[in-house]
Structure formats: structure tokens, C-alpha cells
């Protein structure tokens, strides 16, 4: 026991934190996409496991074929959006229930990703290409690290700003109304089917970008990289809500604070993840760990409400 604790080196943990934060920021982009479907549209979309890998596959293959990494990253948005389109059409045009429709797309994408990549894993080295982001920028030297974090933070704020603006427009309000009360939305002349498809495209577009970025960040696209992605996305959304929900609710720019808390949720998730790894938990058990974290955070609000209710009854 003592030797176990003695073997834990705090310095290793400290050194691994920038990488964990960076990874959290990349997944924060993905979590924003999950927030849009899960909370704003009220649609449990499992497409993301496939669309994040699809975004990565398309992005990495484009880069390997000489396309500029910036353009390749942008294209990964459209790759993700195409995946969202399929789920949306399966749901609205063919009447397949949302969760099932998204699982179908996800499974189909597994084959498509293998076809795009030609094999299950395709590397892209930061030595050979001018990648938009890379873990190496974080670990290499302090200047590059500072540029990475400042640059990525600006990108995230810009993204949150764009989303805040969009969901305040007539179209964005139609999305929120559809998610909140589809009957009311239709009574106000909103084509809720179209809105669903549109929102799934936007959401999966963001997930696709996250995939493109993550592929570059870790230096490879892998057909299995999306497995359990939805769980991480949900973890980020829910950790953000549990920790900062009350704070955000009181703010005038509620949506900005909420989106920010989602990104923070993703970062916190990866900090905890890194911490657990540092405690020498075997990496093959990490999916189990993720599931437990999400289950706990999903249960907290429910159990809290129940406890309050009980107290009320007792009085």
C-alpha cells in the first residue's frame, strides 16, 4: 500500500495537466454539439459516436492527400453535418424513432469510415504537415503551448458567440421552441421536421469539427475513436450543469454561460480522467470509469430533487 502511494509522483500529474486541459477543450467542441441536440432539441442523438470518427477520418485523409489542414478541418464540419442529415431523414421522413435512427447512422458510419481510411487507422504526423492543433504544441515548449491555449480559447469563445447569436435569431428560436414544445411550434407555423434535421446537421457538424481537431491533436484517425463519445459529451453537459447550472440560470446571457459551462464540463472531465489514470487505474477500465461518472452526475439532480420532496412531505 505504502509503496503504491510512494510510486505516485505529483510532478507527473502536474506535467500531464496541460495535455488533459487541451484534450478537454477539443472535446468541449464536441460537447457543444451534444448540448444542442440533447438539451435544446430534446433529442438523444447517438450519431455522434460515428460522426466524430467520420469528421476525423475525412479530415486526416484530406490532410494526407495534401489539402491544407485548415480547409480539411472545415470540411470535417460538413462531413459531420451529412451524418446528422441522414439521422434526421431517417427520423422525420421514414418515421424511425430518434435513438434508433441515430444508432443506424452510427453503425453505417463505421463501415463508411473504414472505406474512407482504407484501414482502421491512419496517422498524420505533425512533422510532415502544418496541423491546426497537436498534442506536441502543448508538450513541446512554453511559447508554443501559450499560443495553443490562447488560440484555442479564442476559437472556443468565438464559437460560443456564434452559437449564442444563432440561437437568438428567428431560426434559432424556432429550434428552441421545437425542442421545448413541438405542438406549440407547429401551431406557430414552424416545420418541426425541417427544424429537427437542421439542428441534427448543426450539432453533428460541430461534432465532425471536433473529430477533425481530435484526429490532428492525437496524430491519427482511428475507426474506433468515437466509441463512447456520446458518453463523454453527455458527461461534459451534465458536469457543467451540475456544477455551474445555478450560476448560469441567474445570468442575463444565460445561453453563453451555459455553453461555457459545457466546455468547462469537458475540461473537468479530462482533468478527473487524467487524475484517475495517474492513480494507476488500468487504461482499459477507463470506459467503465466514464460510464460511472456519467451515471453519478445524471443521478445527482434526480436524487437531490427526491430528497427535497421527501423533506417537504415530512414537514
Amino acid at each position: 500500500m505504502l509503496s503504491y502511494f510512494a510510486s505516485l509522483n505529483p510532478l507527473t500529474l502536474l506535467n500531464s495537466l496541460p495535455g488533459a486541459i487541451a484534450q478537454g477543450m477539443v472535446w468541449g467542441v464536441m460537447a457543444l454539439g451534444v448540448y444542442i441536440t440533447f438539451r435544446l432539441l430534446d433529442f438523444a442523438d447517438l450519431t455522434v459516436d460515428g460522426s466524430i470518427a467520420f469528421g476525423a477520418a475525412v479530415c486526416i485523409m484530406l490532410i494526407r492527400n495534401g489539402v491544407s489542414p485548415i480547409i480539411a478541418t472545415l470540411v470535417s464540419f460538413f462531413a459531420g453535418a451529412a451524418a446528422g442529415l441522414i439521422t434526421g431523414l431517417l427520423n422525420t421522413l421514414l418515421g424511425i424513432p430518434g435513438i434508433l435512427a441515430s444508432i443506424l447512422t452510427q453503425i453505417a458510419l463505421y463501415s463508411i469510415n473504414l472505406n474512407v481510411m482504407g484501414k482502421s487507422n491512419q496517422p498524420v504526423s505533425v512533422d510532415n504537415y502544418k496541423l491546426v492543433i497537436s498534442l506536441r504544441y502543448v508538450t513541446e515548449d512554453p511559447v508554443k503551448r501559450a499560443i495553443f491555449f490562447v488560440g484555442f480559447t479564442v476559437f472556443l469563445f468565438a464559437l460560443i458567440g456564434i452559437l449564442y447569436w444563432y440561437f437568438g435569431t428567428e431560426q434559432g428560436q424556432a429550434i428552441r421552441a421545437t425542442g421545448c414544445n413541438p405542438n406549440m411550434a407547429r401551431a406557430q407555423g414552424i416545420n418541426t421536421d425541417f427544424i429537427k434535421v437542421l439542428t441534427l446537421m448543426i450539432s453533428n457538424g460541430l461534432v465532425g469539427i471536433a473529430g477533425g481537431l481530435y484526429g490532428q491533436f492525437q496524430g491519427a484517425a482511428d475507426v474506433g475513436m468515437g466509441r463512447g463519445a456520446i458518453v463523454i459529451g453527455l458527461a461534459a453537459v451534465i458536469i457543467g450543469e451540475v456544477l455551474f447550472g445555478k450560476f448560469a440560470a441567474k445570468r442575463k446571457l444565460y445561453l453563453v454561460w451555459t455553453l461555457l459551462s459545457v466546455v468547462l464540463g469537458a475540461i473537468i472531465y479530462y482533468l478527473v480522467y487524467q487524475f484517475v489514470l495517474w492513480l494507476k487505474m488500468p487504461s482499459e477500465d477507463m470506459k467503465l470509469f466514464s460510464a460511472i461518472v456519467v451515471a453519478i452526475f445524471l443521478a445527482v439532480p434526480y436524487l437531490r430533487d427526491k430528497a427535497i420532496q421527501k423533506k417537504g412531505v415530512a414537514k
Partner: protein
Amino acid sequence: MSNSKNNDLANDYVLEIQDVHKVFNKGTINEKIALNGLNLKLNKGDFVTIIGGNGAGKSTSLNAIAGVWPVDKGRILINGEDITALPEHKRAKYLGRVFQDPMTGTAATMSIEENMALAARRGEHRTLLWGVGRAEREEFKEQLSTLGLGLEKRMTSKVGLLSGGQRQAITLLMAAIKKPDLLLLDEHTAALDPKTAAKVLEISEKIIMTNNLTAMMVTHNMKDAIVHGNRLIMMHEGHIIYDVSGEEKKALQVSDLLHKFEEASGTEFANDRMMLSK
């Protein structure tokens, strides 16, 4: 017969329902004939109250007009235009709707002004312009102040924080905001306490009169059905069994309606909630 100022042509009806049929759960043990040869013509400015027992087809009629589901047979026309094949969201531009459940008419997680802005764009293309304009915000404020509920001071409050009566009042404003060809009120006071119900009914009457709207109001309160509107319809088993307007309607008593129902349907009104609310 009714207020027909703008009625130049004989067939110029605001609403025309021709022999509409609707069966739910066809071919199953739960099969229910909801509409059975419904025919109705409304002139401009008509304010029709609709009564009938449970399952008579009152709400179903309004849902058929709104296009919540397709009808099995028959045609529905608004201002002479056949809308039978139009989906629900495309019919919305002709209609204003208020529902029985106060939660149904508004988006709880959105603010009062956002809800009204959504209604103000009914039937229009939703653009990438900001959702609530500055000029219309003042307009909304003014309209809200006419309700006398102090809601004009809470424009950015989430609608979910409001009471059922307040939400129904806002839904009424939203329904009338585009001056619809036809206003559909589906037992919109049934879920409210008596005092709030009376207030919401008063607001409804005011909105219909000031905007000169054509309206259909389903109610289970016979007194309300007699007092309000210029025309009264009684439904039974999916079609209209009694249709009265003008002076004849004004002279109606609740007992007349009960008698009429028994006569037309051959059954008594007993065990129906209409009895309770006479």
C-alpha cells in the same frame, strides 16, 4: 343569420367543412369514430360556441381544422382555399389556437417576448435576423398591458414561471397577434380556477371583438356557450345535431340545451361533466 358585413358572395365562407370523417385506431379493439359526416360553414365574424358530451367530437373538429392529423374523408376550406392536404405548420398562418392545457400553448423555457415573437412570425419565413425586434418589443409591451396582469414588466421572464391563467392570456395574445382568419379555442378555460377562467374568457371576448375575428370556442360550460358568441353548435357522435344563432340563441336557456340534447341523441346528459357546470 350572422354578422356578414364582408360577405359579398354566397360561397365566401371563412371556414367550410364538407362531410369530414375521422376514425381513430381503425380496425382495432379501440376503434373510435371521432367525426362522422361533419358539415359546417362559418361566415366572417362568426363567434361560434361548441358544446357536446364527452367524445362528441368537439376538440376533434378543431384538430381536424388545424391539421393535427389527416382526415379520412371530406374537405376543409378556409376562405375558399382547400387546405385538406396541408400539413399542420402550413395551416398555422390561417389560424390562432389556444388549448385546454395552459402548458401547450407556449414554450416554457423561453421568455414572454420570445414566445410572442415566435407567434408574430407565424406563416413567415424564419430568417437569421435577431429573434425579437426593438420596435415589436414595444408593441408586445402595449398588448400585454391591455391584459391588466402586469406582464408587460416581465417581458424577459421565462413563461414557465407564470401561472396557468397568465400563460393562457399570453397564448390568447399570441393566437390573435397575426389577426388569423379563424381563432380556435379548445376548452381553453377548463383547466383554470373559476375566477381565472372568467377573466380569461373576458379577455378572449375582448380580443375577438376588437380584432373582429372569426372564432370557434369549445366549452363544457353551457352558460358560457349561451352568453358568448353569436352562434351555438351542439355536437353528438361526431356530427352537429343542433345549430342555432341570432335572436334564437340569445333566448336560449340551459334547460333548453339539456332538452335539445336528450331529444336529438335519445340519451340523457347524466353522468356528463356538462351537468356539473350548468
